[in-house]
Structures are given as structure tokens and as C-alpha cells.
Symmetry: C2
Subunit: 229 residues, 2 copies
């Protein structure tokens, strides 16, 4: 469902070039629970941004859900991101002037497929599953770090995407809450076949992966598939 | 060096009151490596903000480094925060328009005690110790999450504060980098007697604590001191 061939990403910093990805070949199958692990600065966020169509590669092909993303028009890309993909950002990217409920509802409003009552039911259900029942009317600056992270998680999952990019989704969560979130994701993966692609440092997430990709200094150093017999 | 007596913190959310701390009594000795642990939303950041003089209690006394912080004038509080305290924020709070080097140098400029060459030497040394030698001229949006976290760490330590409030300082770091940062802090604690007060979910940090305080739903449920014999 995701295929990268010869992918390079070079950032420009004034005159200096910063190569963040140095030739990535990667295939992820539909329904996988895949983890990208690696040191800080190794390129995990950069890789997730390309797969999630939030950024474009400098070189190479990025195929997502059957599309060569380089050939899609801006409106087709927007449609793909909204309808098929979910993105949990490492720095959350919440809308500061909206409360938690409205932040989570936002993509449903953009999609325009549900009635107000249907949206409300869905938002309340997903927020309840990540433990945010009591803080739905807080704005982001009135929430704890882990609560903001969970608003970002709820927002990514509320549209029932086919592929979820999760960039360190448990970084700000204690062990119990982290397990709760991983269980929600595992259940979606199991029941709906949702593909999950994580960037993480959290051993609890790595333990659940059926596929692990190690990134070091912009290159894949090894990938392993879990063989549970 | 830090003493809280009967401390309450109530946030106002429109007409609703959100009690975040519900009667905290706490003493931390000079030179301690103390950890505040607890679930997401339990009040850790709120507690650190009071100790770090970034917020004020609704009720109760907060004594820091010999001062009753409620009695200090705004300028005395500013002086205390700048000269004696260091704060690593959970959401970093970097200055977006300044590069990493300038972000770390900033408190030294405010203090005005060092020459330009002395500032430069100190900034480079601290940034090197947290692994940021190659990214000193990147601005925050040109850094990875873990790199931004380390800029926040370097900035808090560059003034050689007496007390460091560290709010989840390893959340975005892989295991190796996390250990590196904890070693830097342990060394400062051992060589300089710097007091460290962490909020963390990271078992690696908890393992180093000589004092652990458990916060649940705004109250201290237990505190334990490590007895290494
Ligand atoms: N400005 C605010 N207005 C209203 N409620 C707030 C505000 N700031 C924090 N809260 C609430 O106070 C409680 C404690 O927040 P705090 O940030 O101290 O938690 P925390 O222990 O640091 O959590 P985490 O581990 O997720 O960072 C939370 O339930 C949060 O929703
Ligand atoms: N806009 C940019 N301009 C220049 N360099 C950048 C930019 N964004 C990221 N980088 C650099 O690219 C490299 C990879 O960044 P990336 O955010 O993908 O790392 P990461 O693996 O997600 O790290 P972390 O675990 O710390 O989140 C880093 O060295 C970073 O400094
Ligand atoms: Mg990252
Ligand atoms: Mg917090």
C-alpha cells in the first residue's frame, strides 16, 4: 500500500544542503503495523512526511494507496490526505483557537459527509477511547502535554483513514495511557485493517510491530518482519 | 531548597473551575535528583511551573531557594528565574526566528555577565555535550523533534542554574541520546551540586532518581527516597 523507490530528501539551509534521506527503498503492505526506529535526527519524521504527502521527495518515487504522489494535482493530494490518510504529528499541530472537540471534528467538517449528530457521536466515541471525555471543551493551551497528544491522535483517527502515520504518538504519555492508546490502534488494525506506520522510540510500540525498519543517518540499515509462527 | 506548603492550583475555564493541584506539601533538598511521576493530566507540569516561578499558586506557600515567591516583586522574580533557575519546557518554547545557537545564548545575553567570546565558548560546549554540534545554525523548524528538545535542554543549562526544572526532557529522544542527556545532568548534579526536579514517564530517568514523588489526580500519593545503603 506504500512503496518508495530511490527516495532522496535534501533540505536547503541557505546555501548549505542537508541530506535527510539518502536513497530509501521501502515497501509496506496493507494492514501492517510497521515501526520506523532510529536515533534522533536520523530522518524518521522526514520519511513519514513523504509517505503522508505532507512533503515531496527531492528524488525518487513515492507511491501511496496506488497513486504515484508526484503525479497528483494539488486538489487530488488534498483529497487523498483528507479521505485516506491520518497523520499524528510529532508536535501535534492543533488549532489553538478551537477547543479539543472542535479540533477533532475539523476533518469531518471538511469531508462534509456526516450530519452534525453523526459527527458528534463519532468525535465523542474516539475522544472517549483515548481518555479525553472530561476535557473536550479545553483549548490546547488549557491541556496537559499528554492530553494535547491524545487530541492529535483522536483527530487523525476520526475519519477512519486507511493509512495512519503516527510520529511518536506516545512520547508524552505515561505507561498506562500509552498502553491504552496502543490498544485502540491495535484494535483498529485488527478490526478495520487500518495500516499503521509509526516513528517511535517507545519499546511498548515496538513490541507490537509486525514489521520494524531501522533508520540510521538517512538510510535503512535493516528491516525485519516479526515471525510469530 | 524547595518547599511547598498547602499548595492548591485551580484553573478557571470560563465559569468552570479545574482543580489541578489539591493540597501539596513537598520538600526538596539542595542537590537532589528528584522525579515527579504520574499519569497524563495528574498535575506534574502545573507543579513544576509553580516551583519554577512560571505560574503562581491559588493557595499555599511556595518557597524556592530561600524566598517566599509570593512576596517577591516582578523584577526580583525575573532575576531569580534568570540567575538561579533553569526550565526545560515540555513543549520547548524556543524562539522561532532565532537559530539554535542564538536560542541557547539568549539567557546569557540577558544576564550580561560574559564577553562575547566567553558566551560563545559556553554555548558551544553545552551544545556539543547534547550532540548538537552540527545543527547550531538551524532554526527550530529546521530541526527534528529530538533536536529541538536538546536545544531547550542546552538553553536551560547554559546559565549554570542552581535548580533545574526538567519537564519530560527525554520524551522525544531515542534510548542512546536519552542516556547521553541523563549523563550530562547526573554529572552536573554530582560536580556542581545542581538540584534537578524532573517530571517524567521515562524509566531511564526514574532509575537515576534519588527521590521519587508520585502524583495522582493533583495529590501526592507517595514519596520515596532511594536508599543505596
Ligand atoms: N490553563 C488551563 N486551564 C484549565 N485546565 C488546565 C489548564 N492547564 C492545565 N489544565 C488541566 O490541569 C490538569 C493538569 O495538567 P498538567 O499539565 O499539570 O498535567 P501533567 O501531569 O503535566 O500531564 P502530562 O503528563 O500529560 O504532561 C489537566 O487535567 C489539564 O487538563
Ligand atoms: N527544514 C529543514 N531544513 C534543514 N534541515 C532539516 C529540516 N528539517 C529537518 N532537518 C534535518 O534533517 C534531519 C532529519 O530530521 P527528522 O526530523 O526527519 O529526524 P527524526 O528522525 O524525526 O528525529 P527525532 O527522533 O529527533 O524526531 C535532522 O538532522 C534535521 O536537523
Ligand atoms: Mg521526528
Ligand atoms: Mg506535563
Amino acid at each position: 500500500i506504500v512503496e518508495l523507490k530511490g527516495v532522496h530528501k535534501v533540505y536547503k539551509l541557505g546555501k548549505v544542503e542537508v541530506p535527510a534521506l539518502k536513497g530509501i527503498d521501502l515497501t509496506i503492505s496493507s494492514g501492517e503495523f510497521a515501526v520506523i526506529a532510529g536515533p534522533s535526527g536520523s530522518g524518521k519524521t522526514t520519511l513519514l512526511n513523504l509517505i503522508g504527502c505532507v512533503d515531496v521527495a527531492t528524488r525518487g518515487a513515492v507511491n501511496v494507496d496506488g497513486h504515484d504522489t508526484a503525479t497528483l494535482s494539488e486538489s487530488k493530494l488534498t483529497r487523498l490526505r483528507l479521505d485516506r490518510l491520518g497523520f499524528i504529528f510529532q508536535s501535534f499541530n492543533l488549532v489553538g483557537v478551537l477547543d479539543a472537540f472542535d479540533n477533532v471534528e475539523f476533518p469531518l467538517l471538511l469531508q462534509g459527509n456526516l450530519t452534525k449528530a453523526e459527527r458528534r457521536a463519532r468525535v465523542e466515541a474516539i475522544m472517549d477511547s483515548v481518555g479525553l471525555r472530561d476535557t473536550m471543551r479545553h483549548r490546547p493551551n488549557e491541556l496537559s502535554g499528554g492530553q494535547r497528544q491524545r487530541v492529535a491522535i483522536a483527530r487523525a483517527l476520526v475519519t477512519r483513514p486507511r493509512i495512519v502515520m503516527a510520529d511518536e504518538p506516545t512520547a508524552n504519555l505515561d505507561s498506562t495511557t500509552g498502553h491504552q492508546i496502543i490498544d485502540v490502534m491495535k484494535r483498529l488494525n485488527h478490526d478495520e485493517g487500518t495500516t499503521f506506520i509509526f516513528s517511535t522510540h517507545d519499546p511498548k510500540v515496538m513490541a507490537q510491530a509486525d514489521r520494524s525498519i531501522e533508520l540510521i543517518d538517512g538510510r535503512i540499515s535493516q528491516t525485519s518482519v516479526r515471525d510469530d509462527g
